[in-house]
Symmetry: C2
Subunit: 235 residues, 2 copies
DNA sequence: AGCGGAAGGTGACACTGTCAAGCCGTGCGT
DNA sequence: ACGCACGGCTTGACAGTGTCACCTTCCGCT
């Protein structure tokens, strides 16, 4: 990394055009930040430490990012883009709606586990306020659309009625998001033991799809309000 | 509720007369911290600010808490105790296993929404490492046991086979945890609109129970591995 | 009476994010 | 061709933070 630092210092007088040099240092800062959160964790991320690792003065990044939050937003950007791409890919890789839902779920959790800092960043509004970064919000929306489209397909395939789309979307998103969060933040692994953890994610995803699939019978029997059955009957 | 948390921590020091005064200031510090995170949010919590609000010097709390993390752990303690209590209460309030599961889910999300800072604290290992605070971990475990026991009841009632307990537990926990996280951290409300948000939580919980309930038919038909159906068939 | 030790205070240090200037070389207008 | 403005980057400063070391005060016990 020191080699990088030296190189970055020497390219101050690069013969290239101004703009590209600027983008180069900007990229350098982002890469330093990314490596930092991947090795040291999200909490260790400091503006000054990033500058240090990039071989710059503590104020250089300030030229490209208005404040600390902007760096975080740029990283969250990467995360959302990656998520959207993985979800698209997962959907393409499977033929049936339910299998696509399953693949999307696995992809979602996979991303969270393989890029924990990015994932946390994406869902920490106190660190990155999406309102202040419309392009990041757009990437987030793109990822969300993949999920929602998948759920819609599932409903259209007969595993439910269209009006339930928002609720089923929320449910499926909650499953994958919650599983990712519980695995990332420890308690689940801690409680259920590390033994079967490798299999846990696909098993949960399979069960989720199995439950949704089993629903088809209920719908066909005309029990379209099956979702409210438990509450209605026991109260 | 607070009394529970304090009681658990009353182990270390307690030479009576002295101890009571000490506990008083200790409690003062905790209350100041609690009010701070409830009004200003979790990120605004600083050791010095807490001391200021408690009317003490910036170093006084250091006498009762070894470091910042210990304050956070004490607050997480409150949260876990509250959660366990709400879950127990939810279980008692309903007669059938599925209805209990539904009530537990609602209670879980309710706690997260009504005490957001506490909830975040409980699941942020970088802020509170449960390994360093065994009593807090015990409270967390107590809450988890409630959830697991509820799931076990559901299985015993015929909505699945016993071997699936870990997976179903993970699934249900993921649903409630994920829903809480998505609501707290914004994206869900942002995407699905604030309109039906008030109804969203109970609807999702009802759907979750409805799905699990619908499973009974599948099990009775002998399709005990229904959960893996989607994956097996489409691959 | 005297002392130990707990409750609490003061000052310092390294670190953070951010603001305000400064330096320097390139590209532009004239 | 020259000057100058400006982009890229640096340096210096400030308030705020968590934490360490040391200090004062004062209660309760022997």
């Amino acid at each position: 990394m020191q080699a990088v630092a030296v190189k970055s210092k020497s390219n101050a007088l690069a013969p290239l055009s101004r703009g590209s040099a600027a983008q180069a240092t900007r990229q350098l800062v982002l890469e330093a930040a990314e490596e930092l959160i991947r090795t040291e964790g999200l909490e260790a991320l400091s503006f000054r430490e990033v500058s240090r690792r990039a071989g710059l003065s503590h104020q250089a990044p300030y030229h490209y990012f208005p404040d600390r939050e902007a760096i975080l937003a740029a990283l969250a950007n990467q995360g959302f883009a990656l998520l959207a791409e993985k979800l698209r890919e997962a959907r393409r890789s499977r033929p049936t709606p339910l299998a696509r839902l399953e693949a999307c779920g696995n992809a979602y959790v996979d991303l969270a586990l393989s890029r924990p800092a990015h994932f946390k960043l994406m869902f920490r509004p106190e660190m990155v306020k999406l309102d202040d970064f419309p392009d990041t919000a757009a990437f987030a929306d793109s990822a969300f659309q993949e999920l929602q489209a998948t759920v819609r397909e599932v409903l259209e395939a007969g595993h439910g009625v269209p009006e339930e789309e928002p609720v089923l979307t929320a449910l499926c998103w909650s499953v994958v998001h919650g599983l990712a969060g519980l695995l990332l933040d420890g308690p689940l692994l801690y409680k259920l033991g590390r033994s079967g953890s490798g299999q846990l994610v696909p098993l949960v995803m399979a069960m989720m799809c199995g439950l949704v699939e089993g629903r088809t019978a209920g719908v066909r029997r005309g029990r379209t309000k099956g979702a409210r059955g438990a509450a209605a009957r026991t109260r």
